[in-house]
């Protein structure tokens, strides 16, 4: 564990040096994160402009959901987005060979090789917006609910990480689906809506996306003191489940990896 933390620190430092070396890239990354963070907020303002309440959620509760979504997405982007964006290319071009021959865990390197520091900006946008929404709602946040929310966010990111990794592992067989990662970004967008919204769709489809509907709504409910212990337990369960599946599936899939020139 200590060895991997040390490697991650080195990788993060390398990524940061690279980031500040290319000023245009840094400015663009900052603009990009600011734009998408702002868009997420504008989106819910636009969607709720004609209604004070939908699916049992008030306008400000929905604002909070989108604010927390920004924090969560910002963190997901910081730790995983760049590595996952390169995932398909690494497999498609046979570069996975160089990952497999290194004396560290291949899943660790595929997940944490690149760090997207500018995405912290999105976390800041989300935090400021969520704090404003909470003040408008007159909700007093306790240290206990804040701690629980942070733990749930970590579990939520673990759920999404597991799901992403399972899908991306399929690229070992479908090497030309290099745009799969974009679809997964769209899938992340599902998490910012109330779970009740999806209850109208067919049973199988609803249960397929059920874990996603808990990732953001559960911490948001916790923050406004509407604690749902069943949902908290489910988020923790799904985190363990999807991480375990991603691990086993990756090991299984590697048996079928044949490199680019084989």
């Amino acid at each position: 564990m200590k060895k991997y933390l040390s490697i991650y620190k080195t990788l993060s430092g390398m990524n940061f040096s690279e980031l500040v070396s290319f000023r245009a890239n840094l400015i663009n990354s900052l603009i990009s994160n600011l734009v998408w963070g702002t868009f997420s907020i504008l989106l819910i303002v636009v969607l709720t402009s004609k209604t004070p309440e939908v699916f049992g959620w008030t306008r400000y509760e929905l604002f909070l959901l989108f604010g927390i979504y920004n924090i969560y997405m910002g963190l997901f982007y910081v730790f995983f987005s760049r590595s996952f964006e390169r995932f398909s290319q690494i497999i498609h071009l046979g570069e996975l060979d160089f990952v497999l021959v290194k004396p560290i865990d291949s899943q660790f390197l595929m997940s944490f090789r690149y760090v997207n520091h500018p995405a912290f900006l999105r976390v800041i946008v989300g935090t400021i917006f969520s704090a404003w929404v909470l003040s408008q709602m007159g909700v007093a946040v306790t240290a206990q609910s804040l701690l629980l929310m942070v733990l749930l966010l970590v579990c939520g990111i673990a759920v999404m990480y597991g799901i992403w990794y399972i899908f991306l592992t399929c690229l070992i067989w479908w090497t030309n689906l290099t745009n799969l990662v974009g679809l997964l970004y769209e899938m992340n967008g599902l998490t910012r809506y109330p779970g009740q919204m999806f209850q109208g769709i067919s049973g199988l489809l609803f249960y397929s996306i059920f874990p996603l509907t808990l990732v953001i709504t559960t911490p948001a409910q916790t923050l406004v003191n509407k604690v749902n212990y069943l949902n908290i337990a489910l988020v923790a369960f799904f985190a363990v489940l999807f991480i375990s599946i991603s691990r086993s599936f990756w090991k299984f899939a590697l048996k079928f990896y044949s490199s680019a020139s084989s």
């Binding site: 603009i31 990009s32 504008l42 004609k50």
Partner: protein
Amino acid sequence: MKAWRIFLLSFQHVLENRSRSFIWVLYVLLPAVVFMLFWIGVVKSSGGDVSGWNFSTITSYYFLLTVLGSTVIAHIEEDVAEEDIRLGELTNYLMKPFSYFWTKFLEETPWRLIQGAFGVLIVIAFIFIFGNFFTLASSPLVIVLALLIMVLAYMLCFTFKMSLGLSAFWLTDSRGLFQILEVLLLIFGGFVVPITLLPEAFSKIAQVLPFSYIVYYPIVAIQGNLSITQMLTVIFAQLAWIFVFYLVYKVVWSEGRRKYTAMGQ
């Protein structure tokens, strides 16, 4: 004949990548379905009608959005900026006796046709299952005019994105600019909600920007929600915007080519 050959070669390339095309259609379908589910909830909680939009018009709007989003939205700007200008592929185009603009048009069109075909298949499946909730224009004249609006929407989007891509002649990294305009297109084009459902200030801005002529107006035209006069006004506005962006393209292309260097090619 040469143009037809370029088109066929591009079509062949797109067919080889049909699974990727299908994934790209899902990019459009997934958010469209999510917005649709959200608005169904809003319509239900508002007693069945929100500013003239009901369950049937809102569902058909978002399914048509899947077709339009796949068919008329060109994704040429990154190709122009990254592959052609930054990595030097433009040299290959400059060496050939064909217009760069029209060659890119012939390369992009097959992608739109194949993705549009996937979108149509999804909508047909939807009509088959939920036929009662789908509204489309029935008058032949309206359908012909709506199809013309769709073709012009593609031309408008393509010309706009080509001009945008050429910004790479001056900018080291254009992605920030692309993403700002992408967000403007999403909000003011009608991707998130029909522009009549936007807050009033946003709706006024949307009326003066070109984005609604790319997505919103083609959809409401094929839904049969525009009169013949309104459709003719839309066509006139689209032609005016195409003219403006084509002029921009010509100026930027002429100036930008002088700055272009492709080292090592």
